[in-house]
């Protein structure tokens, strides 16, 4: 059975109609929909086991704690981390990057350098700009070339003795480019620089193994991988996290507290101040189980097929411009495009009339838009439940746009 046929009944939202048409949701890269299994896990958690975690002696508190920590174990398995201490729950990718920028950045000196790329999401750019502002750190960006690949020679030239950290996305949320993260991590390791990989678009699509990839930090969001909103993950290599002073404080993350000082708690809790997003974490655990059961190889193959079909169909339309690599095998599950004569917002509004949800705009990547010389694009992105038929409807609707000019 095709993956879509198997999974569609799990997604209640697919029963919705939009403007009288069946919903065709092609915006999973912005935020994915949730299977029943995830929604139920959150609901059951509240109905049966909720209490605050970690300091409770009572039964509910113990259950809630076990559920939270089991979710951590599931995430650890899913991304192939070696130790549960390496999995820090955050609110999302953005939150995780800020955490790293502020904790790691404390030790940076004026003139130290951070390297990002021209294709970063604002979330992997602004935290470093803020660090640059606050600590006189120098920020450099690796340019992109051709269809949207990193210029690795330029990267080599940008890299200096002062390079303390490299922050780059695993998969571009606009171009879909899958960056050669392994190579870059190895390069950074040799040169003694830290490296943070933004996996927000990778984890939902690829089989990621952080132990093999071996970055210092790997971050992603639950809501883009069939999980709830309000939860994300910072994977940090244990040796690195162990040496890191927290930048944010509160309950949970301490061992002992005096009025004027405190001793930090063990990993991973040292980096989780305050009551954690318990229910979202439980839901993320369920999402990870769901994806694990499907098998990420199957997910990848399915989404590649949809991407290939979408590139084919839209590429065949004269009025359409495509962005990013044309080969779905080196591409995430996103297709960015523009339609001649239409501002992306108007295009999206018109497609919505046909029940089709696509993203429009700069996709939180304004520097990339500027580089491409455009204000924005339309973007279709795919998940486990999307079908080839939906892509055909998209292509027909896009083709029809010219008649509305």
């Amino acid at each position: 059975m095709s993956l879509a046929l198997q999974t569609r009944p799990d997604f209640p939202i697919l029963e919705r109609r939009v403007n009288g048409r069946p919903l065709i949701y092609l915006d999973s890269a912005a935020s994915s929909q949730k299977p029943r299994q995830v929604i139920e896990a959150v609901k059951l958690y509240y109905e049966r086991s909720h209490a605050n975690v970690h300091r409770s002696i009572h039964t509910l508190g113990e259950e809630a704690t076990a559920l939270l920590e089991t979710a951590r174990d599931s995430v650890k398995e899913f991304i192939g981390a070696e130790h549960r201490e390496e999995i820090v729950f955050t609110r999302g990718t953005t939150d995780a990057i800020n955490l790293v920028a502020q904790a790691v950045g404390r030790a940076f000196a004026p003139g130290d350098e951070v390297i990002v790329t021209e294709m970063e999401h604002h979330s992997n750019l602004i935290p470093w700009q803020i660090l640059a502002r606050d600590r006189s750190v120098k920020l450099k960006a690796v340019p992109i070339v051709a269809e949207g690949f990193l210029d690795l020679d330029a990267f080599d030239r940008l890299f200096t003795e002062r390079t303390r950290l490299v922050a780059l996305t695993h998969v571009s949320n606009v171009l879909g480019t899958i960056n050669p993260v392994g190579k870059i991590v190895a390069r950074c390791r040799r040169a003694g620089s830290l490296v943070l990989v933004d996996g927000a678009q990778a984890v939902p699509h690829l089989s990621v193994n952080v132990a093999r990839l071996a970055p210092d930090f790997y971050v992603f969001s639950g809501h883009k991988m069939l999980g709830p909103t309000g939860i994300g993950v910072l994977y940090g290599r244990r040796e690195v996290l162990e040496g890191l002073e927290p930048a944010w404080g509160g309950g949970e993350m301490i061992k002992e507290v005096w009025l004027d000082r405190a001793q930090w708690n063990e990993l991973p809790w040292r980096f989780e101040p305050g009551t954690p997003p318990i229910a979202p974490a439980v839901g993320l655990g369920a999402a990870v189980e769901y994806l694990g059961k499907l098998g990420m190889e199957r997910v990848l193959a399915h989404e590649q097929e949809l991407t290939r079909l979408c590139l084919d169909r839209l590429g065949a339309l004269e009025e359409v411009t495509l962005y990013g690599p044309r080969n779905p095998e080196i591409k995430g599950a996103v297709v960015a495009f523009n339609v001649k004569g239409w501002h992306p917002h108007d295009g999206a509004a018109l497609l919505d009339q046909d029940g089709i949800a696509v993203r429009a705009g700069h996709h939180c990547a304004m520097p990339l838009m500027r580089k491409l010389g455009i204000v924005g694009t339309l973007r279709a992105s795919f998940s486990v439940f999307n079908t080839p038929e939906e892509i055909e409807v998209l292509a027909r609707s896009v083709a029809n746009l010219k008649f509305q000019l």
Binding site: N19, H343, H345, D346, L350
Partner: protein, 139 residues
């Protein structure tokens, strides 16, 4: 001011309402788009939702706005709103121009603008007010 939730219940729209013929017409053939050489005031701003940029340029005369032009690579709604607004203030007294509100623009657009797009209407208005704010310093 509360957030408009009115549509969230049904989520139903008709294609006919999406873009009125006014919007369509003004977007395709704007009458007040263009440069204004040597303007007395000009202002530009950005829609934080999409990064679209609109600029409005004015020349003054007779205690009012002699000419108005806009520039901007923006969506249909924003372009139409800017074009209509430029027309509305062109040749008008400052006092009249200052009184123009969102509702005036909305009624001229002859379309239900969804909350997600309302910024596309208010941006040109905001830019106009910015330009008018320079009146004091000029006259």
């Amino acid at each position: 001011m509360a957030w408009n939730l009115s549509f969230a219940v049904t989520g139903r729209y008709h294609r006919s309402v999406l873009y009125s013929s006014v919007i369509h017409e003004r977007f395709r053939r704007p009458r007040f788009r263009g440069e204004l050489p040597d303007p007395d005031a000009q202002f530009e701003d950005v829609n934080p939702l999409c990064g679209d940029r609109v600029r409005m340029a004015l020349t003054f005369g007779n205690g009012g706005i002699a000419q108005a032009r806009f520039l901007g690579d923006s969506c249909a709604i924003c372009t139409a709103a800017a074009d209509i607004l430029a027309e509305m203030v062109h040749g008008r007294a400052f006092s009249e121009a200052e009184k123009i509100g969102v509702s005036d623009l909305l009624s001229r657009l002859e379309a239900d603008i969804r909350p997600s797009r309302i910024k596309c209407v208010t941006l040109p208005l905001q830019v106009l007010k910015g330009a008018l704010g320079q009146v004091g310093s000029r006259t």
